[in-house]
């Protein structure tokens, strides 16, 4: 498939936003049961939610560049019964709403305590909102992943690993950003986030490598024989019926050379996993915000390469019909 930058930015940016929000939720739930010190509502949770929201908005804006008729985008919410894309279009604003409310509550110190346990643990209203947000976050990961995983003849995508990878990559990059942010606004939480970032990134490494191995062993179900219905081992296309390009030749091929294609795989494997983890550990040891931010940026760039590869690697069966001009 042709890797469209609008979709690459959409999926990576909302991934960061979702991950960042999950990080805030995790932090606050740990502090609610007093496993972590409570943070300043305004500075940490308020500003953190704003950052998460900005990433979600960035992703939403990127998505509009993918549409031919963005002015009709509202219509896309109508087919949630059957279409994962439609479900994503519904869940994204819901999540943004919860993140917004959560951010406002913290930013303007509007939080209320709903319940105080004998031990002193408190249940804040914002945590209830964040729980809804957490559910929306996971629902959004599932929708985004399923948009690709539900296309069964795109065999590289049609696997639960697609959904798992989208979830883990988004969470990892969001936690990475949260680590840098915590180092700046809530240093006691930095190590907590850093360790979670490492665990999630390693988990993503395992599942992404699993999907690379799976894809390298795939055997295409469709062949020129089934595409044409002719039983002969040697069939060659002589003409695709036109000499200029068409949507079929532009949208479904990555048009990169084999060298570029292969090197992007290695580039993302390095930029998403070992390099940011190295920077993360250096940053954690020196409590260096810039180093932690660098880790995030490197991983984000790596994720763009990862998403590019994700698209480029998928081989659409229609390509069988477009082998030669």
């Amino acid at each position: 498939m042709h890797p469209a930058f609008s979709v690459i930015f959409l999926t990576t940016l909302i991934g960061v936003g979702q991950g960042m929000f999950l990080a805030l939720f995790t932090g606050q739930s740990y502090s609610a049961v007093e496993l972590l010190p409570m943070q300043d509502s305004h500075n940490f949770y308020g500003n953190g939610a704003i950052i998460a929201l900005l990433f979600l908005i960035g992703g939403l804006i990127a998505s509009f560049f993918h549409l031919g008729r963005p002015e009709r985008a509202w219509r896309a919410a109508s087919q949630w019964r059957t279409s994962w894309l439609s479900r994503e279009v519904i869940v994204l604003p819901i999540l943004m709403f919860f993140v917004f409310v959560y951010g406002v509550m913290h930013y303007f110190d509007l939080d209320a305590t709903l319940f105080t346990a004998d031990t002193g643990a408190q249940l804040e209203l914002s945590l209830v909102i964040a729980t809804f947000g957490m559910i929306a976050t996971f629902a959004l990961f599932i929708c985004t992943g399923m948009i690709y995983a539900c296309l069964k003849f795109l065999q590289e995508w049609a696997s639960p690993l697609t959904v798992i990878n989208y979830t883990l990559f988004g969470t990892a990059s969001g936690f990475m950003l949260a680590t840098a942010f915590a180092n700046h606004s809530a240093p006691e939480l930095m190590r907590f986030y850093g360790i979670w970032t490492t665990i999630i990134t390693l988990a993503a490494l395992a599942t992404r490598v699993a999907s690379l191995i799976r894809n390298s062993r795939l055997k295409a179900k469709s062949t020129l024989q089934t595409a044409l219905g002719v039983r002969h081992n040697r069939i060659q296309q002589k003409s695709m019926g036109f000499m200029g390009g068409s949507v079929n030749t532009r949208d479904f091929f990555h048009h990169a050379s084999l060298v570029v294609f292969k090197s992007i795989k290695w580039i993302f494997l390095v930029l998403v996993f070992p390099l940011p983890l190295l920077l993360l550990w250096i940053g954690m040891n020196d409590s260096n915000t810039n180093m932690l931010l660098a880790a995030f940026v490197v991983q984000y760039v790596g994720l763009i390469a990862e998403r590019w590869f994700f698209f480029a690697q998928a081989n659409h069966p229609q390509n069988l019909y477009y082998q030669t001009v």
Binding site: A73, T82, S83, F153, V230, I235, G244, P317
Partner: protein, 243 residues
């Protein structure tokens, strides 16, 4: 239930592209608006087509065969392109099984074109909506046309009559009978899309002559091992008798 469809006879198609041009002409002049053609006479021409004819070579020289292969939307009975559409712009009509795009609802997200394994949905780069074969829905029901012309433009244009049009759910229709008797098949059956359009395979008409068909096995002369007697020199009964 009715399921309108095309049956394309690969044995007859000569790859003349008459269906392609006729389709483009009919549909670019329709009420749904033109079908984009960019740089038609320049470098890198590109445009939207509902139907394309491709050419393949089957076999290895010298025993090769040329296969011309027209391809348009197959109006699948279980179309994967329809449920994925987020706006409901893509739909399958209950009454005749035609899969259509509502150009006023489509947001041009291209998701349906990803979901069609056959690559027959093409986004119109000018109007930014998804387009595909409509089986000439604006023509086949038009009562101002004589009945013989209420067929898709491609079917009428085909000079070799390689394209048949009809209801594949009616088991006695011309298309159903042809599919049944001439070995009609569907493309990429492995995905369970149940395309309504069918293709008829290339068919060879060969004469099989056996040795014993060249020699008359029950020739009585051979059986008795005795040829007719040689002519005699003295007069015969025929010569001396006036019957």
């Amino acid at each position: 239930m009715t399921q309108l469809a095309l049956v394309i006879d690969l044995n007859v198609c000569v790859g003349c592209h008459a269906c392609v041009t006729s389709c483009k002409e009919w549909n670019t002049s329709g009420s749904a608006g033109f079908m984009t053609d960019e740089n038609p006479y320049g470098k890198d021409p590109t445009g939207t087509f509902f139907n394309r004819v491709q050419t393949y070579e089957v076999g290895e020289f010298p025993s090769t065969e040329t296969l011309h292969f027209p391809k348009s939307c197959l109006h699948c009975e279980d179309p994967p392109c329809v449920p994925v559409c987020p706006t409901g712009a893509s739909y399958k009509r209950k009454e005749d099984g035609i899969v259509l795009v509502d150009y006023d609802k489509c947001i041009g997200c291209r998701y349906c074109s990803w979901a069609c394994p056959y690559g027959v949905r093409e986004i119109d780069e000018t109007q930014k909506v998804m387009k595909k074969c409509t089986l000439c829905v604006d023509r086949i029901y038009d009562e101002s046309l004589p009945e013989s012309e209420r067929k898709p433009a491609c079917v009428l244009a085909c000079p070799t009559n390689a394209r048949l049009f009809g209801d594949v759910h009616d088991s006695e229709s011309e298309v159903s009978v042809t599919i049944r008797e001439e070995g009609g098949y569907q493309l990429m059956p492995e995905w369970g899309t149940k395309p309504a359009n069918h293709y008829l395979p290339r068919r060879k008409t060969r004469m099989h002559i056996h040795e014993d068909e060249l020699q008359r096995a029950d020739n009585p002369l051979k059986k008795e091992q005795r040829g007719p007697s040689a002519p005699v020199s003295e007069p015969t009964l025929d010569d001396s008798t006036s019957w």
